[in-house]
Protein backbone atom coordinates (compact mmCIF):
# COMPACT_ATOMS: atom_id res chain seq x y z
CA UNK A 1 0.00 0.00 0.00
CA UNK A 2 1.20 3.46 -0.76
CA UNK A 3 0.37 6.71 0.95
CA UNK A 4 0.05 8.58 -2.34
CA UNK A 5 -3.31 6.95 -3.21
CA UNK A 6 -4.86 9.03 -5.88
CA UNK A 7 -8.45 8.01 -5.57
CA UNK A 8 -9.35 6.64 -2.17
CA UNK A 9 -12.40 5.01 -3.65
CA UNK A 10 -12.98 1.38 -2.81
CA UNK A 11 -9.92 -0.79 -2.35
CA UNK A 12 -8.70 -3.50 -4.67
CA UNK A 13 -6.34 -6.35 -3.85
CA UNK A 14 -3.77 -7.17 -6.52
CA UNK A 15 -2.68 -10.79 -6.34
CA UNK A 16 0.30 -12.02 -8.36
CA UNK A 17 0.87 -15.75 -8.58
CA UNK A 18 2.99 -18.43 -10.16
CA UNK A 19 0.21 -18.96 -12.71
CA UNK A 20 -1.37 -15.57 -13.34
CA UNK A 21 -2.86 -12.52 -11.66
CA UNK A 22 -6.16 -11.80 -9.94
CA UNK A 23 -7.80 -8.53 -8.92
CA UNK A 24 -10.27 -8.46 -6.02
CA UNK A 25 -12.61 -5.46 -5.99
CA UNK A 26 -13.82 -4.59 -2.51
CA UNK A 27 -16.79 -2.62 -1.25
CA UNK A 28 -16.48 0.29 1.15
CA UNK A 29 -16.70 -2.01 4.19
CA UNK A 30 -14.23 -4.53 2.73
CA UNK A 31 -16.81 -7.26 3.37
CA UNK A 32 -17.56 -8.29 -0.19
CA UNK A 33 -14.95 -8.81 -2.85
CA UNK A 34 -15.62 -9.37 -6.54
CA UNK A 35 -12.97 -11.48 -8.17
CA UNK A 36 -11.59 -10.54 -11.58
CA UNK A 37 -9.26 -13.09 -13.09
CA UNK A 38 -7.24 -14.87 -14.02
CA UNK A 39 -5.25 -12.41 -16.03
CA UNK A 40 -2.34 -13.99 -17.93
CA UNK A 41 -3.28 -17.52 -16.94
CA UNK A 42 -0.14 -19.64 -16.92
CA UNK A 43 2.22 -16.69 -16.85
CA UNK A 44 4.50 -16.17 -13.88
CA UNK A 45 3.51 -12.83 -12.37
CA UNK A 46 6.01 -11.73 -9.75
CA UNK A 47 4.51 -8.36 -8.93
CA UNK A 48 1.39 -6.40 -9.80
CA UNK A 49 1.19 -2.74 -8.78
CA UNK A 50 -1.09 0.20 -9.44
CA UNK A 51 0.44 3.66 -9.65
CA UNK A 52 -0.85 5.51 -6.55
CA UNK A 53 -0.18 8.86 -8.24
CA UNK A 54 -2.66 8.46 -11.08
CA UNK A 55 -4.71 5.54 -9.79
CA UNK A 56 -4.76 4.14 -13.34
CA UNK A 57 -1.44 2.73 -14.47
CA UNK A 58 -1.19 -0.93 -13.56
CA UNK A 59 2.06 -2.79 -14.20
CA UNK A 60 2.58 -6.56 -14.15
CA UNK A 61 6.03 -8.13 -14.04
CA UNK A 62 5.61 -11.22 -16.18
CA UNK A 63 7.46 -14.17 -17.59
CA UNK A 64 6.62 -17.74 -18.45
CA UNK A 65 8.45 -20.98 -18.02
CA UNK A 66 9.60 -20.83 -21.64
CA UNK A 67 9.74 -17.21 -22.74
CA UNK A 68 11.80 -14.22 -21.76
CA UNK A 69 10.56 -11.66 -19.24
CA UNK A 70 8.46 -8.62 -19.94
CA UNK A 71 6.26 -5.95 -18.38
CA UNK A 72 2.58 -5.59 -19.19
CA UNK A 73 0.72 -2.32 -18.67
CA UNK A 74 -2.94 -1.51 -18.28
CA UNK A 75 -4.66 1.82 -17.79
CA UNK A 76 -8.16 0.36 -17.39
CA UNK A 77 -7.54 -1.92 -14.43
CA UNK A 78 -6.79 -4.97 -16.49
CA UNK A 79 -9.55 -4.82 -19.08
CA UNK A 80 -6.84 -4.42 -21.72
CA UNK A 81 -3.08 -4.86 -21.53
CA UNK A 82 -0.17 -3.57 -23.61
CA UNK A 83 3.37 -4.88 -23.49
CA UNK A 84 6.24 -2.57 -22.59
CA UNK A 85 8.13 -1.41 -25.67
CA UNK A 86 11.45 -1.93 -23.93
CA UNK A 87 11.25 -4.15 -20.84
CA UNK A 88 14.11 -4.29 -18.33
CA UNK A 89 17.21 -5.71 -20.00
CA UNK A 90 20.88 -5.44 -19.15
CA UNK A 91 23.28 -3.60 -21.40
CA UNK A 92 26.09 -5.14 -23.42
CA UNK A 93 29.14 -6.36 -21.52
CA UNK A 94 31.41 -3.54 -20.30
CA UNK A 95 34.20 -3.10 -17.78
CA UNK A 96 35.46 -6.60 -18.65
CA UNK A 97 32.43 -8.13 -16.93
CA UNK A 98 30.35 -10.97 -18.27
CA UNK A 99 27.14 -9.96 -20.01
CA UNK A 100 24.00 -10.85 -18.09
CA UNK A 101 20.38 -11.46 -19.05
CA UNK A 102 17.31 -10.64 -16.99
CA UNK A 103 15.53 -13.83 -16.03
CA UNK A 104 12.54 -12.05 -14.52
CA UNK A 105 11.52 -8.72 -13.13
CA UNK A 106 10.83 -9.32 -9.47
CA UNK A 107 9.91 -5.98 -7.94
CA UNK A 108 8.09 -2.83 -9.08
CA UNK A 109 8.08 0.50 -7.24
CA UNK A 110 6.28 3.65 -8.39
CA UNK A 111 8.52 6.70 -8.17
CA UNK A 112 8.25 9.89 -6.15
CA UNK A 113 5.03 11.91 -6.15
CA UNK A 114 6.86 14.77 -7.87
CA UNK A 115 8.04 12.51 -10.68
CA UNK A 116 4.91 11.21 -12.39
CA UNK A 117 5.64 8.38 -14.78
CA UNK A 118 8.82 7.32 -13.00
CA UNK A 119 8.95 3.69 -11.89
CA UNK A 120 11.75 1.49 -10.58
CA UNK A 121 12.19 -2.24 -11.15
CA UNK A 122 14.38 -4.85 -9.50
CA UNK A 123 15.27 -8.03 -11.33
CA UNK A 124 16.74 -11.49 -10.99
CA UNK A 125 19.66 -11.74 -11.38
CA UNK A 126 20.11 -8.55 -9.42
CA UNK A 127 19.61 -5.44 -11.47
CA UNK A 128 18.08 -2.01 -10.97
CA UNK A 129 16.03 -0.32 -13.71
CA UNK A 130 14.07 2.89 -14.15
CA UNK A 131 11.26 3.99 -16.42
CA UNK A 132 10.30 7.61 -16.98
CA UNK A 133 7.20 6.95 -19.06
CA UNK A 134 4.97 4.86 -16.88
CA UNK A 135 6.66 1.55 -17.59
CA UNK A 136 6.79 1.65 -21.41
CA UNK A 137 10.58 1.94 -21.71
CA UNK A 138 13.09 0.80 -19.08
CA UNK A 139 16.74 1.79 -18.71
CA UNK A 140 19.37 0.03 -16.58
CA UNK A 141 21.32 1.63 -13.73
CA UNK A 142 24.78 0.86 -15.04
CA UNK A 143 26.33 2.14 -11.81
CA UNK A 144 24.86 -0.93 -10.11
CA UNK A 145 24.36 -3.49 -12.84
CA UNK A 146 27.79 -3.08 -14.46
CA UNK A 147 29.91 -2.18 -11.46
CA UNK A 148 32.68 -4.62 -10.58
CA UNK A 149 32.22 -4.12 -6.86
CA UNK A 150 28.47 -4.68 -7.06
CA UNK A 151 29.00 -7.75 -9.24
CA UNK A 152 31.10 -9.15 -6.40
CA UNK A 153 28.43 -8.28 -3.84
CA UNK A 154 25.73 -9.92 -6.00
CA UNK A 155 27.46 -13.24 -5.41
CA UNK A 156 26.78 -16.15 -7.71
CA UNK A 157 23.60 -17.93 -8.70
CA UNK A 158 24.47 -20.38 -5.95
CA UNK A 159 24.07 -17.58 -3.43
CA UNK A 160 20.56 -16.81 -4.58
CA UNK A 161 17.10 -17.89 -3.60
CA UNK A 162 15.82 -21.09 -5.26
CA UNK A 163 14.58 -19.25 -8.33
CA UNK A 164 17.43 -16.78 -8.51
CA UNK A 165 18.98 -13.89 -6.58
CA UNK A 166 16.79 -10.80 -6.46
CA UNK A 167 17.00 -7.05 -6.16
CA UNK A 168 13.96 -5.97 -4.18
CA UNK A 169 12.47 -3.44 -1.75
CA UNK A 170 13.23 -0.42 -3.93
CA UNK A 171 12.18 2.48 -1.73
CA UNK A 172 11.83 6.20 -2.45
CA UNK A 173 12.01 8.75 0.37
CA UNK A 174 8.72 10.68 0.13
CA UNK A 175 10.59 13.89 1.13
CA UNK A 176 13.30 13.60 -1.49
CA UNK A 177 13.11 11.91 -4.89
CA UNK A 178 16.90 11.64 -4.93
CA UNK A 179 17.01 9.52 -1.78
CA UNK A 180 16.64 5.83 -2.66
CA UNK A 181 17.13 2.49 -0.96
CA UNK A 182 17.11 -1.07 -2.25
CA UNK A 183 17.92 -4.48 -0.86
CA UNK A 184 19.13 -7.73 -2.35
CA UNK A 185 18.28 -11.30 -1.41
CA UNK A 186 22.02 -11.73 -1.26
CA UNK A 187 24.05 -8.54 -1.04
CA UNK A 188 22.76 -6.22 1.66
CA UNK A 189 20.86 -2.94 1.87
CA UNK A 190 22.02 0.04 -0.22
CA UNK A 191 21.32 3.77 -0.21
CA UNK A 192 21.63 6.56 -2.75
CA UNK A 193 21.47 10.28 -2.01
CA UNK A 194 21.84 11.40 -5.63
CA UNK A 195 18.94 9.79 -7.43
CA UNK A 196 20.78 6.58 -8.11
CA UNK A 197 24.01 7.89 -9.60
CA UNK A 198 25.87 6.31 -6.69
CA UNK A 199 24.89 3.82 -4.01
CA UNK A 200 26.60 2.70 -0.80
CA UNK A 201 25.94 -0.27 1.52
CA UNK A 202 23.99 0.21 4.74
CA UNK A 203 24.64 -2.99 6.65
CA UNK A 204 26.13 -2.02 10.02
CA UNK A 205 24.49 -3.96 12.84
CA UNK A 206 22.95 -6.57 10.54
CA UNK A 207 23.90 -10.14 11.38
CA UNK A 208 24.85 -12.95 9.04
CA UNK A 209 24.64 -16.72 9.14
CA UNK A 210 27.17 -18.14 11.60
CA UNK A 211 30.58 -18.75 10.10
CA UNK A 212 30.38 -15.96 7.54
CA UNK A 213 32.18 -12.61 7.80
CA UNK A 214 29.74 -9.93 8.92
CA UNK A 215 31.83 -7.30 7.16
CA UNK A 216 31.30 -8.88 3.73
CA UNK A 217 28.35 -7.20 2.02
CA UNK A 218 27.61 -10.27 -0.07
CA UNK A 219 26.76 -12.34 3.01
CA UNK A 220 23.91 -10.07 4.10
CA UNK A 221 20.48 -11.35 3.11
CA UNK A 222 17.71 -8.82 3.68
CA UNK A 223 14.28 -10.26 2.90
CA UNK A 224 12.17 -7.12 3.02
CA UNK A 225 12.91 -3.45 3.66
CA UNK A 226 10.23 -0.86 4.46
CA UNK A 227 10.33 2.88 5.13
CA UNK A 228 7.75 4.47 7.44
CA UNK A 229 5.53 6.78 5.39
CA UNK A 230 4.76 8.82 8.51
CA UNK A 231 8.43 9.09 9.49
CA UNK A 232 10.78 8.56 6.54
CA UNK A 233 13.77 8.57 8.90
CA UNK A 234 12.64 5.22 10.23
CA UNK A 235 13.28 1.97 8.38
CA UNK A 236 12.37 -1.56 9.31
CA UNK A 237 13.83 -4.71 7.84
CA UNK A 238 12.98 -8.39 7.89
CA UNK A 239 16.24 -10.18 7.28
CA UNK A 240 17.43 -13.77 6.90
CA UNK A 241 18.95 -13.16 10.34
CA UNK A 242 16.32 -11.23 12.26
CA UNK A 243 14.06 -8.18 12.35
CA UNK A 244 15.72 -4.77 12.49
CA UNK A 245 14.92 -1.09 12.89
CA UNK A 246 17.06 1.85 11.79
CA UNK A 247 16.42 5.47 12.80
CA UNK A 248 18.35 7.81 10.52
CA UNK A 249 20.71 9.52 10.47
CA UNK A 250 22.09 6.58 12.47
CA UNK A 251 23.63 3.87 10.30
CA UNK A 252 23.49 0.96 12.73
CA UNK A 253 20.54 -1.43 12.55
CA UNK A 254 19.03 -2.55 15.85
CA UNK A 255 17.81 -6.15 16.05
CA UNK A 256 14.33 -5.64 17.47
CA UNK A 257 13.50 -9.24 16.63
CA UNK A 258 15.35 -10.25 19.77
CA UNK A 259 12.16 -9.22 21.55
CA UNK A 260 10.07 -11.83 19.71
CA UNK A 261 9.09 -14.99 21.65
CA UNK A 262 12.06 -17.33 21.64
CA UNK A 263 10.02 -20.30 20.43
CA UNK A 264 8.84 -18.32 17.41
CA UNK A 265 12.02 -16.48 16.55
CA UNK A 266 12.43 -13.50 14.25
CA UNK A 267 12.89 -15.13 10.85
CA UNK A 268 10.43 -14.49 8.05
CA UNK A 269 9.96 -12.78 4.73
CA UNK A 270 7.31 -10.02 4.68
CA UNK A 271 7.09 -6.88 6.79
CA UNK A 272 4.19 -4.42 6.85
CA UNK A 273 4.21 -0.94 8.36
CA UNK A 274 1.34 1.21 9.52
CA UNK A 275 0.99 4.14 7.09
CA UNK A 276 0.32 6.67 9.88
CA UNK A 277 2.11 5.30 12.96
CA UNK A 278 5.84 4.64 12.80
CA UNK A 279 5.73 2.44 15.91
CA UNK A 280 3.38 -0.11 14.40
CA UNK A 281 4.48 -3.03 12.23
CA UNK A 282 3.57 -6.63 11.47
CA UNK A 283 5.58 -9.66 10.44
CA UNK A 284 4.77 -13.26 9.51
CA UNK A 285 7.30 -15.49 11.27
CA UNK A 286 8.55 -18.68 9.73
CA UNK A 287 10.63 -21.58 10.91
CA UNK A 288 14.28 -20.81 10.27
CA UNK A 289 15.69 -23.72 12.24
CA UNK A 290 18.06 -26.44 10.99
CA UNK A 291 17.21 -26.95 7.29
CA UNK A 292 15.05 -23.83 7.11
CA UNK A 293 11.55 -25.20 6.49
CA UNK A 294 10.31 -21.64 5.81
CA UNK A 295 6.89 -22.61 7.20
CA UNK A 296 4.84 -21.31 10.11
CA UNK A 297 6.56 -22.32 13.38
CA UNK A 298 4.91 -25.47 14.74
CA UNK A 299 2.38 -25.46 11.91
CA UNK A 300 0.52 -22.68 13.76
CA UNK A 301 0.46 -19.62 11.51
CA UNK A 302 0.18 -16.19 13.09
CA UNK A 303 0.95 -12.60 12.36
CA UNK A 304 2.99 -10.85 15.02
CA UNK A 305 2.53 -7.16 15.55
CA UNK A 306 4.25 -4.46 17.54
CA UNK A 307 2.86 -1.12 18.73
CA UNK A 308 6.12 0.21 20.12
CA UNK A 309 8.64 -0.03 17.34
CA UNK A 310 9.49 -3.64 18.03
CA UNK A 311 10.13 -3.41 21.76
CA UNK A 312 7.26 -5.82 22.42
CA UNK A 313 5.27 -8.12 20.12
CA UNK A 314 1.76 -9.53 20.20
CA UNK A 315 0.52 -12.70 18.50
CA UNK A 316 -2.44 -12.28 16.12
CA UNK A 317 -3.86 -15.64 15.15
CA UNK A 318 -7.62 -15.47 15.72
CA UNK A 319 -9.33 -16.98 12.72
CA UNK A 320 -6.19 -18.61 11.35
CA UNK A 321 -5.80 -22.41 11.57
CA UNK A 322 -4.84 -23.54 15.07
CA UNK A 323 -2.62 -26.38 13.92
CA UNK A 324 -1.25 -28.34 10.97
CA UNK A 325 -1.00 -25.32 8.68
CA UNK A 326 2.50 -25.25 7.24
CA UNK A 327 2.30 -21.96 5.43
CA UNK A 328 4.88 -19.89 3.67
CA UNK A 329 4.26 -16.20 2.94
CA UNK A 330 6.70 -14.59 0.51
CA UNK A 331 8.27 -11.18 0.90
CA UNK A 332 5.80 -9.27 -1.31
CA UNK A 333 2.79 -11.32 -0.23
CA UNK A 334 1.67 -9.29 2.79
CA UNK A 335 0.39 -5.74 2.82
CA UNK A 336 -2.10 -3.30 4.31
CA UNK A 337 -4.78 -1.05 2.95
CA UNK A 338 -5.16 2.58 3.96
CA UNK A 339 -8.42 2.64 5.91
CA UNK A 340 -8.84 4.28 9.31
CA UNK A 341 -9.02 0.85 10.90
CA UNK A 342 -6.23 -0.68 8.92
CA UNK A 343 -6.82 -3.81 6.87
CA UNK A 344 -4.05 -6.37 6.59
CA UNK A 345 -3.76 -8.99 3.86
CA UNK A 346 -1.49 -11.89 3.05
CA UNK A 347 -1.30 -14.70 0.54
CA UNK A 348 0.30 -18.10 1.01
CA UNK A 349 2.32 -20.24 -1.32
CA UNK A 350 -0.51 -22.77 -0.99
CA UNK A 351 -2.84 -20.29 -2.70
CA UNK A 352 -4.89 -18.85 0.15
CA UNK A 353 -5.68 -15.15 0.49
CA UNK A 354 -6.43 -13.87 4.01
CA UNK A 355 -7.74 -10.57 5.32
CA UNK A 356 -8.00 -8.77 8.65
CA UNK A 357 -10.22 -5.72 8.87
CA UNK A 358 -9.12 -4.81 12.38
CA UNK A 359 -5.35 -4.42 12.19
CA UNK A 360 -4.57 -8.09 12.59
CA UNK A 361 -6.81 -8.98 15.53
CA UNK A 362 -9.15 -11.23 13.53
CA UNK A 363 -8.55 -13.03 10.25
CA UNK A 364 -10.82 -14.39 7.55
CA UNK A 365 -10.06 -16.29 4.36
CA UNK A 366 -10.94 -14.45 1.14
CA UNK A 367 -9.89 -17.08 -1.38
CA UNK A 368 -8.57 -20.62 -1.53
CA UNK A 369 -7.18 -22.77 -4.31
CA UNK A 370 -5.28 -20.03 -6.09
CA UNK A 371 -1.85 -20.85 -7.52
CA UNK A 372 1.24 -20.16 -5.45
CA UNK A 373 0.92 -16.53 -4.36
CA UNK A 374 3.98 -14.39 -5.02
CA UNK A 375 2.71 -10.90 -4.19
CA UNK A 376 -0.26 -9.13 -2.62
CA UNK A 377 -0.75 -5.38 -2.92
CA UNK A 378 -3.72 -3.12 -2.29
CA UNK A 379 -4.63 0.00 -4.23
CA UNK A 380 -7.34 2.61 -4.70
CA UNK A 381 -8.15 3.02 -8.40
CA UNK A 382 -9.46 6.29 -9.72
Amino acid sequence: MDTQDAGRGNPVILVATRKGAWIYHGDRERQNWRVDGPHFLGHIINHLRLDPRDGRTLLAAASTGHLGPTIFRSTDLGQTWQEAAKPPAFGPPINGLEGRAVDHTFWLTPGHADQPGVWYAGTSPQGLFRSEDGGVNWAPFSCINDDAQYRQWFGTVQDGTPDGPKLHSITVDPRDAQHLYFAMSGGGVHESLDGGQTFAPLIEGMEVVGGFDVNEVTFHDPHCLRLCPSNPDRLYQQNHCGIYRLDRPARRWQRIGRNMPADVGDIGFPLVLHPRDDNRLWVFPMDGSDVWPRTSPGGQPAVYGSCDGGETWQRHGIGLPASQAWWTVKRQAMTSDHEDCLGLYFGTTSGELWQSRDEGLHWECLARHLPEIYAVETAYPK
Binding site: T64, G65, H66, L67, G68, T70, E83, A84, A85, P87, A89, F90, G91, P92, P93, G99, R100, A101, V102
Partner: protein, 85 residues
Protein backbone atom coordinates in the same frame (compact mmCIF):
# COMPACT_ATOMS: atom_id res chain seq x y z
CA UNK B 1 10.70 -17.21 -45.66
CA UNK B 2 7.88 -18.90 -43.78
CA UNK B 3 8.20 -19.04 -40.03
CA UNK B 4 6.28 -21.37 -37.72
CA UNK B 5 5.40 -19.67 -34.44
CA UNK B 6 4.88 -21.73 -31.25
CA UNK B 7 1.56 -21.43 -29.43
CA UNK B 8 3.11 -19.46 -26.59
CA UNK B 9 3.98 -16.66 -29.01
CA UNK B 10 0.89 -16.64 -31.18
CA UNK B 11 -0.57 -13.91 -28.98
CA UNK B 12 1.87 -11.68 -30.93
CA UNK B 13 1.21 -13.00 -34.43
CA UNK B 14 -2.38 -14.20 -34.24
CA UNK B 15 -1.52 -17.16 -36.43
CA UNK B 16 0.93 -20.08 -36.50
CA UNK B 17 2.59 -19.26 -39.85
CA UNK B 18 3.99 -15.85 -40.76
CA UNK B 19 6.41 -14.50 -43.34
CA UNK B 20 9.68 -12.81 -42.42
CA UNK B 21 12.77 -11.65 -44.26
CA UNK B 22 16.44 -11.93 -43.46
CA UNK B 23 19.63 -13.69 -44.42
CA UNK B 24 20.41 -14.93 -40.91
CA UNK B 25 18.51 -16.22 -37.90
CA UNK B 26 18.94 -12.91 -36.13
CA UNK B 27 17.80 -10.89 -39.15
CA UNK B 28 14.64 -12.97 -39.43
CA UNK B 29 13.94 -12.58 -35.72
CA UNK B 30 14.51 -8.82 -36.02
CA UNK B 31 12.06 -8.71 -38.90
CA UNK B 32 9.55 -10.63 -36.81
CA UNK B 33 10.04 -8.07 -34.05
CA UNK B 34 9.46 -5.24 -36.50
CA UNK B 35 6.15 -6.83 -37.47
CA UNK B 36 5.21 -8.06 -34.00
CA UNK B 37 6.87 -5.76 -31.43
CA UNK B 38 8.27 -7.50 -28.38
CA UNK B 39 8.34 -11.04 -29.80
CA UNK B 40 12.12 -11.24 -30.24
CA UNK B 41 12.97 -10.51 -26.60
CA UNK B 42 10.77 -13.39 -25.52
CA UNK B 43 13.03 -15.69 -27.62
CA UNK B 44 16.46 -14.04 -27.50
CA UNK B 45 18.05 -12.39 -24.48
CA UNK B 46 19.86 -9.05 -24.39
CA UNK B 47 23.19 -10.78 -25.02
CA UNK B 48 21.86 -12.28 -28.31
CA UNK B 49 21.58 -15.75 -26.79
CA UNK B 50 18.62 -17.87 -27.83
CA UNK B 51 16.67 -18.52 -24.66
CA UNK B 52 16.91 -21.87 -22.89
CA UNK B 53 13.51 -23.22 -23.89
CA UNK B 54 13.39 -21.93 -27.44
CA UNK B 55 14.50 -24.17 -30.30
CA UNK B 56 14.95 -23.17 -33.94
CA UNK B 57 14.93 -25.71 -36.77
CA UNK B 58 15.76 -25.35 -40.45
CA UNK B 59 14.95 -28.47 -42.48
CA UNK B 60 15.26 -30.58 -39.36
CA UNK B 61 18.57 -29.06 -38.29
CA UNK B 62 18.64 -27.37 -34.89
CA UNK B 63 20.20 -23.90 -35.01
CA UNK B 64 22.02 -22.30 -32.10
CA UNK B 65 23.94 -19.50 -33.78
CA UNK B 66 22.03 -16.25 -34.37
CA UNK B 67 24.34 -15.58 -37.31
CA UNK B 68 23.50 -18.87 -39.02
CA UNK B 69 22.56 -18.14 -42.68
CA UNK B 70 19.02 -18.82 -43.84
CA UNK B 71 17.67 -19.37 -47.36
CA UNK B 72 15.11 -16.89 -48.61
CA UNK B 73 12.59 -19.58 -49.48
CA UNK B 74 13.01 -21.93 -46.51
CA UNK B 75 10.88 -22.65 -43.50
CA UNK B 76 12.10 -21.76 -40.04
CA UNK B 77 10.37 -23.65 -37.28
CA UNK B 78 10.41 -21.96 -33.89
CA UNK B 79 9.53 -24.50 -31.24
CA UNK B 80 8.92 -24.19 -27.55
CA UNK B 81 11.26 -26.80 -26.13
CA UNK B 82 9.93 -29.58 -23.97
CA UNK B 83 11.20 -29.19 -20.46
CA UNK B 84 10.27 -32.33 -18.68
CA UNK B 85 7.10 -34.28 -18.09
Amino acid sequence: MRVLIPSALQSYTGQPWVAAEGRTVDQVLLDLDRQFPGIRFRMVDEQRRIRRHIRLFLAGEMLFDPDHPLPADGELHIVQALSGG
